[in-house]
Symmetry: C2
Subunit: 502 residues, 2 copies
């Protein structure tokens, strides 16, 4: 058997085991009965399959297969990307002692529980020792991975391959004043603040579900290769190369939760459903990076889903679903109500302008935590958090639940994850600008509920490539330009200055 | 580590992998999107996990662990049963070359497709070559297993451990004339034939679902440790020791499909939910045998679910669900309509009296096929089938779809499975007679929709033991007697002679 064929077989098995593990997780969140025993049984199964994957990945055999493939010359585009990803997985895995993996998993599990309780009681001290331990373990992890130049870089690399913290710092340093400027300008507007109460009326859950299904059908979610279910937190899970599942949540008194949850996850799913067949069952059947994946979900959720043109088509339909709330409510006011810009405490509820400022606060704090744990003590975190909030957003959280305790990420050790959200926004707006240039009829099509040409562009230029290209290379390949945050700023200004009559 | 602890750990891992495989299968039948690709992806995952299980099971390490445990003396009840089951699994697995396993799986997959098409066209010749090959492979399989005395015994043993074909033959030889006699007597009755049309009116699917959920709640199905879903064929699947799932199907124009499908699977699930905690995650977390499992499903479905007392409680409720059909229909007539005895072509639609005759035909044919393949040629099967139907039931199938092609079992190689259905009926009626003796208030309780004492009896005497005891030992332990088919005959006579005024 050829060396590349052997490599493919080995990693196809690993990918299939990953899919099995993903199904175990999907079912846990979607279907699992409520007993403690059911949860315990499932977590033991996940631990077992993950141990099998790890053992197979770090085995001598895998090392030999990779070495043989490395000796090949003239690999084509896909094969060399396959080899690159195989090496990436293998090298990360062999560098981390299994004891450290286990210790992090255990701390994450306990930390998550402690975080939930601490957040419920808004008492940071209950979470502090777990966070302290997790930071220590993540530093140890970063030291082993040793990508550098700083420890934090090794963690970012997990989510955004080859992205450097220094580069992100510069990007965010540029973004920060520009976002603050837009926010200040909007705050100074004489225009009335759009009424958000309309979104907080009672919306029948079954009807919300049906509307969400109608929308994703129209967005070309392929129900022969996927499904939608409900879960506490929306997520996307591919349980095979031809089976991508999304979830949504329904809040009876807040329409956007289901609506935008569904559209967001549909954006992720369309990416997963668009990988070319050659990539199926390989490690290239994945997004270019987490940030790139997020660019797709945010393009659909924010740029399309919160646009005037989108609601031009969907508002009459939404009115038919919920006449008691919307029959006499004007379309443009509904659009404005979904696009209120104002400083708020909770990141996941933030608008498109302030969202980036929430991310910058987290990025700067976690960079300090991981790189300079001496200079920043964990116990100071709540105060620093609050003062940064005051500095960037002009508000101070009334308690830690609405402050430093709001996000799940750190409890499970996901340091380096936050910046990918903003990278996703930057990629998305630059890509969208390019689509608009190449498809001048796009806005008209969206007004008619027709997303086929947009999807075709994304499929051809982004989705079908899966993880072949690195994010910045892919962005340049698609748009012909390096990453340029001007597109994001311009997008925000165009959209929101109109909404606020500026 | 002690030898027994090592054995437990090894087989706990295997059991957890089995649960993972079961989840992959459950999800395939309940949730899988319709594309060919999704089905292909899933079947590859199942093949992979089954290969991992097989490799682990037949490994040198497993053999060594078993050998060490065999040297122990004074094992307690559970540990010696654990060792017995470990040896049973291991010995079967090492005797079968992996090539034969693969060949059977492949032939089953092709054979199943061919069978579906052949049945749709009622053309036995389309299925014949696959059946011929499968019989040959199953004979080869039986030769390797070599339990004996005949080849067929080795196949029966898969489903009903230690049951012998000679013993079953004698049992069935005794049953056959007695069942035929009951049937003839009923056929000669002057009583009017109960009207089955009432069951074939239109029953709203959502209401059928809700009624089925109400019933299993009352039967003490524990929704914190399980769930019900829909699938094409009803089945029960434990995806961990604390997570047992059942499915049902809903036919809009035939009420019993959902109703009795649900109660049947609930009976299986109550068994699985009742294993004592010590058995969790071991190979003893299983029914004593397939026949014993079937005794539980049939006890709930037939003996309880089709009884006068059951409908005494449930009929007023069913009337409220379906007033348009049932409001003015008398309870006793409804009960009779569910208990019509008459010869019919299709086994799964047969009544409690003729069902056993359907099984006897299959048992005798497959015994001949496996043991004396020279004396019975595959091409003669349809004719022999039809003449046996004429002999036992007095009717001749109009075509092979309603005859030899009706069952799925042979296409997938499940020879030896059929007799367990009738064994289940025999075990069930003997057990039920014992409950009635020990709980004189039972019928009164059932009239009031109270099944707690019955379940308590089953839990204490049967469920909690899991697979510790062999079926005939367990039956004797429970009822104090050896298997006695008189109980089944007496049950049928008591019930149906009353219905038919005999």
């Amino acid at each position: 058997m050829s060396a590349i064929k052997e490599l493919k077989n080995r990693f196809t098995e690993l990918m299939r085991l990953n899919y099995i593990s993903t199904l175990l997780g999907w079912d846990l969140q979607v279907n699992l009965p409520k007993s403690q025993g059911a949860a315990k049984g499932r977590s033991e199964q996940i631990a077992l399959i993950e141990a099998i994957i790890h053992k197979k990945l770090v085995s001598k055999k895998t090392g030999e297969i990779i070495k043989k493939a490395e000796n090949l010359s003239n690999l084509d585009l896909i094969d060399s990307a396959l080899l690159r990803e195989a090496k990436r997985k293998y090298n990360k895995a062999i560098k981390i002692p299994i004891e450290l993996v286990t210790e992090i998993a255990k701390t994450a599990s306990l930390g998550h529980q402690a975080w939930e309780k601490a957040r419920a009681k808004s008492d940071f001290s209950m979470f502090e020792p777990y966070l302290e331990k997790m930071v220590r373990l993540e530093r140890e992890y970063a030291e082993k991975i040793d990508i550098g130049p700083t420890l934090y870089d090794s963690l970012i690399d997990i989510y955004e391959p080859e992205a450097k913290s220094d580069w992100i710092s510069k990007l965010f340093k540029d973004l920060k004043p520009r976002l603050m400027k837009i926010l200040r300008k909007i705050e100074s507007s004489d225009s009335d603040i759009p009424n958000q109460e309309i979104l907080r009326k009672n919306y029948d859950p079954d009807k919300q579900w049906n509307l969400s299904m109608e929308i994703i059908k129209k967005l070309n979610f392929d129900f022969t290769k996927g499904r939608q279910d409900k879960s506490v937190h929306p997520f996307t899970a591919s349980v095979s190369s031809m089976d991508t599942r999304i979830t949504t949540r329904i809040w009876e008194n807040f329409l956007p939760a289901c609506l935008f949850g569904t559209i967001h996850e549909c954006g992720h799913a369309l990416y997963e459903m668009g990988f070319r067949e050659e990539l199926h069952d390989t490690f290239l059947a994945d997004g270019s990076s987490l940030g790139f994946h997020e660019s797709q979900s945010r393009l659909w959720e924010n740029i399309i889903g919160r646009s005037k043109e989108f609601w031009n088509y969907w508002y009459p339909i939404a009115q038919k679903y919920f006449p008691e709330n919307l029959k006499d409510y004007p379309e443009y006011e509904f659009y404005r109500s979904m696009n209120v810009v104002q400083p708020s405490f909770i990141r996941v509820e933030a608008d498109e302008v302030t969202y980036g400022l929430h991310i910058i606060i987290r990025f700067e704090l976690e960079k300090e935590l991981i790189n300079n744990s001496d200079s920043l003590s964990i116990s100071e975190l709540p105060n620093i958090w609050n003062s940064r909030m005051q500095e960037l957003l002009g508000i101070t959280p009334p308690d830690d639940a609405k402050g430093v305790l709001q996000d799940v990420h750190w409890s499970s050790g996901a340091f380096g994850y936050f910046p990918t959200y903003t990278l996703g926004n930057l990629y998305a707006s630059q890509i969208y600008e390019d689509v608009l240039k190449k498809q001048p009829d796009l806005l008209e099509e969206i007004k008619q509920g027709n997303y086929l040409n947009l999807l075709k562009y994304l499929r051809e230029n982004i989705h079908k490539h899966g993880r072949i290209y690195r994010p910045l290379d892919l962005l340049k390949k698609v748009t012909g330009e390096n990453l340029n945050p001007d597109y994001f700023i311009k997008y925000l200004e165009n959209k929101f200055y109109q909404i606020y009559n500026l």
